[in-house]
Amino acid sequence: MNKLHWKIGAILGLLILSFWLLYPTVEWYTKTPDERAKLEAVRMRPKRILNLGLDLRGGTHLLLELDVEKLGKKEQLNDAMSRAIEIIRNRIDQYGVGETPISRQGERWISVDLPGISNTEEAENLIGKTALLEFRLVNTSEAAQAVVSKAENMDGSPFNKDGSLIPEIAKMMPKNTILCKAAAGEEGDRARYYVLDATVPVTGAYLESARVETDRQFGTPSIGFTFNKEGGRLFDQFTGANVGKYLAIVLDGVVHSAPVIKTRISGGSGVIEGQFTMQEARDLAIVLRAGALPAPVNIIEKRVVGPGLGEDSIRKGLRASLAAFLLVVLFMIVYYKGGGFIADVALALNFVFLIAAMSYFNATLTLPGIAGMILSLAMAIDANVLILERMREEMGLGKPVAMVVPMGYDKAWSAILDSNVTTWIASIFLFQFGSGPVKGFAVTLTIGLLIGMFTSVFVTRAIYEFWLTSNPKELSI
């Protein structure tokens, strides 16, 4: 075995490895959409495959911002962020969407991708609810009643835009109380308010489960919940100490009901009643089960691609790319003959290696990603043009074939290296665009350039050397 054998062996080995890495991707995308959906739903989606970006398969991208100002004082931002991500993941999982990449971006942003979903109203409601459940005592003192009647008979809202109380109301509030709006009743009703104790004896953090229950008589939905052991104990103590008083059930700052505590409630379960539709009740049960967000989140970016547009752009983009690819391949063979053919073989290998590498890294292919791929392939062709032109020059000087090949490579190398590195410098700064189409471009271009250097220099040279061992005098370029 000489050096050349090793080179050829390494190339063939890489090719086999690539096919092996490609197999899951090919297998996945030859399944029917229904089969894929079924497998995704049960988390059977293969790990190491090439993903299609939302612009190609349709879907929704959401960017959420955690409202840090409403975070508890003691809470660390990092903890809150990871908890928020965890909870959002839980909620979406219950919704049954399948693979949904959720990741932190920057300081306080969370990126959520919902592939295949373009009607996002439900999903947005599900994600956007803070779902902070609190049980508070209603303050029924005279001062409190005065506040309530004043607030209910006002023309405007008793709250400022930022959620604080207007001064007129604020100075009437009894000590250690807060004012809460009641859930909207039937239309046309005036807004109603409650004055509640500031201390929160029990919260939704102690919930073990929540489910939709329907009233036997009227069929109206409500949400039944069960506390865990500690929550049950706290609730038992709390209700025991406050028999005869009103208990407000507050969800995200809105009082949903305020029944009177008739007896001590042990056993740790209860019901939230209110004017829910079936859908609302179901969503509420989900978010209560998944837990409360540490602070509210706001949607600050949303991008939706309908399924039709995705298919259309993938078809057009792919067809055009394929046509361009074939044109270049053809041109190389016509212009450089044998040398062009070898460059084309390298190009094909480049393509296979690139897709295999992207599958292995579980990368996402977007439309700009395809553009990046094409550009990296063009760079690989450029490297071969550089080499071939050098070889032609050396041939023109009348050098023997055995010298033309190594001279061509040696002289072209510095230009190939420098040009690839500079393009690479430009592409690497695009990685900072956390996610989305531009990152797709950066990924394919960066990987593509590395692989392109390998195939257009190492692989083609091995092929020439292999050719020259049996035909030392002939070179068709």
Partner: protein
Amino acid sequence: MIRILHKTNINFVKLRYVFFAISGLVTLTGIASLAIKGVNLGLDFTGGTMMQVKFDKPVPIGAVRSALDAAKVEASIQSFEDENAFAIKVKGTQENVNQKADEIIGALKTIKDASFTEEKRDYVGPVVGRDLAKKALFAIILSMFGIIVYVAFRFSNPVWGTAGVIGLLHDVFVALTAMSLTNREIDLVIVAAFLTIAGYSINDTIVIFDRMRENMRNFPKMPLAELINLSVNETLSRTIITTMTVFITVLVLFLFGGSAINNFAFCMLIGTVTGVYSTVALCTPMVYQWERRSHK
């Protein structure tokens, strides 16, 4: 052997003032266009809402316009006639994610005898827009800086690196000018195109610089003008062929790639042409201009 170019002997150095004048003119056009027309910044940077809808039958753009006017939605409308589709954009600061989109949908529902489906919807909040603009600017500045450093290091001559970067800036500026003149929108994808043009432009320049470096070693006594002309002419057929392959590729994408990558392809098309021009006609004569002065 097929050859596009046989041995050429064009005196690029002698023609340099013509080239400088052409580039000066183009740059002035660009400055004028940017000053008068400005650039059409996309939603990515301005923030706002974009909706693309497809009707089930042909609807005149006037009907869409008047429906939106009636609902008091101030929007720009782009029509894709062969597809019965419209892109409706409301740029600017919007705090609420679905508000504008709902207004648009409400307005479009008033159009009689035609129903539509939503194909695409983008909402970019004000914070995100600013953030993306900042990142794009950083990406461009940092990569230019990285390229200068690398080129200066590889050629151990700051004049060459600077000439290369001026060529690159020239090309990106020309592409920007073309975008401004044709009123095409600049979004994140176009930023990617700018960076690719930058990479390509410097790539071409480096190939010629590389040849100049080599010829300097081989013919240490050759006058600079002759050396530059020799190097550019020697690499000319490679420059043309490479550019042609890229140009064909991008042209096909431009003509048949569909609306989603049309702007990107257009930008690249301009970039490849000006990339070759700047390398051959700007960067190398510039090196001559500066080096000659410093030797005097």
